[in-house]
Structure formats: structure tokens, C-alpha cells
Subunit: 207 residues, 2 copies
DNA sequence: TATAATTGTTAGAATTAACTAACAATATTT
DNA sequence: AAATATTGTTAGTTAATTCTAACAATTATA
């Protein structure tokens, strides 16, 4: 089975819910969590208590629930998996959006890592939330390999002329004070690139 | 969620196990079930007890477990769903056979009917266990349309010569006393066909 | 501010599903 | 047939997850 951590699937659901509420900029109070999960508040309460004991959320009596850093990382992994499955069901299998959502939710805790990896491979990269990284997201000092250049033909050509093509490794040297343009190093050359250009270069970090 | 009946997914697993053992012609004793599920015998025992209470299996102390008709029907549905998902994971997603098996087992109880139907549509028919019907399975008096002829070239040719080719509708007239050969009517002719030949003709019933 | 409404907590019970351990029946071997 | 091994049953326990109901704190409203 594919549990990202050592949480029960039930607790994974609660953790995911907290992140979803946060991302939707809704408060994560007991009531919100209970409502979102469709359970009684007391159920949410004991679940959150267990998450707090595991160090994944912070919760003080009568106050709203916050993810810890550890909790947020885990929740993000869980949510990525969820979204990946939703995409698969909707875009490959062709199920209605709501059903895809519901089914993804039901099966996400039971799918192995191998299956997740394969699904990532067959989904077109731009649909794959876990892989949606562009050069813009790479921190100064780090390197990344170009996966695709997603730009209109004219700009695309210019980039290819600069040597930015799939497989090439780019190192981000530094950001200009206001973050635009950015300095990169590629094939021994140094270049500067506008941020919106960098955003259309899909990369995978080289670790 | 997609539960075929109103059983918990756990009980669905037990029911499915009983059918699998039966199909493999292995005895379905407590020990076999427990071993197949990887649980203690006492766990299997209480599960089977509940299945018996639901009228899905027959079980008398110290004797082996049999599916009731109701139980067998339900188990077949569950198993079809299982196989369908295994096919999807293995042949479409490209996961290793064992992983496909394991994952299918884990998610089969959580997938909605809509998703199952869609998967059926995208899988090639011969991969779809629920549709794997051969002429042999057609009852006397009923008709069916030939989908494919799955036979070695020599026999295949003979069948095609008899007019048995995809699209053609065959009516099963009657079985000989011992069930072999069977009388069929095709394109106005009457033919007799051996059962093992009939088994290699994949059909869809015309209703 | 007093009252009402909402939100949060706790305790206790029910269910499901697993386990271990003790014991009972059946089957196999000597 | 007696001894041993295997298989089956029962009882009792544990853990996870849910619930209801009673109560407590907080917030909103008149």
C-alpha cells in the first residue's frame, strides 16, 4: 500500500483537509474540518488530537488548527497524490469531474508508490501537479535540467538559439534585486533571462 | 463509493477470497481463507460468520465454506471489478503485474460504478473480464453476435469458412444430451460445433 | 451587558476488525 | 488404537473510528 507516511488513511484525510482549507483561505476550525469531512465535530476533534500528538498540526483549545512544517510537507504529498489521481480519472479514464474527485479521495490512500510514479509518467507533464516546476521556481545556486520549453514559436526559437533545449542543465546564479531578470549559467555561458521567460521553461531539479 | 452491495470492504475481500479459492479448485476451509487473506484464523472465522449471517455463504462447524447463489453472484461482481482494475493498472498504466494485483485489491472497494463503467469502455473488450463471453456460455434459444474468433490459424480458418466471423449473429439451437456437440444456426444454415470450438468464439449476447 | 447562538470539548458507547490464548474437533502417523 | 499434528472455535482484548449527549467557552445579537 502506498501510505506516504505511517498515518492511517483516516488521519491522512484529516491532514489533507486542513491543507485544502488553508489553500482555499478558509479558516481551519474544528467545525470547518468536521463539515468538510462530513463527520461530527467530536470525531474531528479526536482526529486532530491524534494529528497534534504526531506533531503534524498545532492545536490549542478553542483555537484554529495550523499545520506544522512537517505536517504541511506531508499534507502536500497527500494532496499531490490526490490531484494526480483526479487527473487520471478525469482526463484519461474520462470520468465526470465530481466522480473523479470523490473516487480519488477514496482510493488515494491505497495506491502504491509504483502506481503513482507510472501515472506521473503517462500524464502529460503540465497536468501533473507534482512536476509542475519551472525555471522560475529554482532557487539561486541550484541547478535544473530542462524538460520542455513551453513558449510560442518566436520566443521558443530564441530560447533554443540560446541553447535552452530539453536535456540541458541550467544553473541559476542569482536574482536581480527585484527578481527580474535572473542570471543563469548554461553550457558554460552566462545569460540573463526574464522571469516570465523562465516561467515557460519546464525543468526538473538535479539533486 | 462503489460498494457493489452493502458489505464492508473487509467482508467483500473475504467473499472474493472464497470465490478465488473455489475457482482455483482449492478447498475453502477456514485455514485457506485465513492464509489467503494473511490474517489469523479467528479473524477469518468471525468474518465468515458475518457473511453467513448475511446469507452469502454456507458454513457448518468444522466443514468447508461454500458460496450461496447470492454470495456467488456478488463475489463475481467484486472479482470482475478487481480484474478490471488489475488490467487497467497493468496494461494501461503499465505497472508491474504484482503491484497491479495488490493495488487493485486495495482500491477495488472504493471505486464508483461510473469509473468502473468508463474503464470498461476504454479497455479493449477482450481484456475486459466482465465481457468475456463465449458462444459456449450462450443458452439454447438465445442469440449472440460474434466479436472475435480466438483460435489457432487452422481451426480459425475452418470457422471462418463456416461463416463464423465478427459481426455474424449465431443462434444456439440446442445442446446434445451430453452437451457436446451443440447445434447452432448461422446465416440460415444449421451447423454443429464442438464445445471447445464454441469456447474460442467470443460473442456478445443480442438482447 | 444579558441572552442566544455558535463553536469546542469531553465522556461514554457502538462497530469493525484485528489479535492472542485456551480449548475442541478432526486427520494423520506410528 | 494411541499419540501427534492440524484445523476450527470461542472468549476476551485492543485499537481505530465513529456516534450521541452533556457541558463549556466564545461570539453575536438584542
Amino acid at each position: 500500500m502506498g501510505g506516504v507516511g505511517h498515518l492511517s488513511s483516516c488521519l491522512e484525510d484529516y491532514l489533507e483537509t486542513v491543507l485544502v482549507l488553508k489553500q482555499e483561505k478558509k479558516a481551519a476550525r474544528m467545525r470547518d474540518i468536521a463539515k468538510h469531512m462530513g463527520v461530527a465535530m467530536s470525531s474531528a476533534h479526536s482526529a486532530i488530537k491524534r494529528l497534534a500528538e504526531a506533531g503534524l498540526v498545532n492545536h490549542r483549545r478553542y483555537e484554529s488548527i495550523e499545520l506544522t512544517e512537517k505536517g504541511e510537507n506531508l499534507a502536500k504529498k497527500i494532496l499531490d497524490r490526490h490531484n494526480l489521481l483526479t487527473q487520471l480519472l478525469r482526463d484519461v479514464i474520462g470520468v465526470h469531474a465530481e466522480t473523479a474527485e470523490k473516487d480519488a479521495c477514496a482510493i488515494e490512500h491505497h495506491v502504491s508508490q509504483e502506481t503513482i510514479r507510472r501515472i506521473m509518467e503517462i500524464l502529460p507533464p503540465e497536468k501533473n501537479p507534482a512536476e509542475e516546476k519551472t525555471l522560475k521556481n529554482i532557487e539561486p545556486g541550484k541547478s535544473a535540467r530542462v524538460v520542455r520549453v513551453r513558449a510560442q514559436s518566436r520566443i521558443r526559437k530564441r530560447m533554443l538559439d540560446m541553447g535552452i533545449s530539453p536535456g540541458v542543465v541550467i544553473r541559476v546564479k542569482r536574482m536581480a534585486p527585484l527578481g527580474d531578470p535572473m542570471q543563469i549559467s548554461i553550457l558554460g555561458y552566462d545569460l540573463s533571462l526574464r522571469k516570465n521567460e523562465a516561467a515557460s521553461i519546464i525543468v526538473e531539479p538535479t539533486d
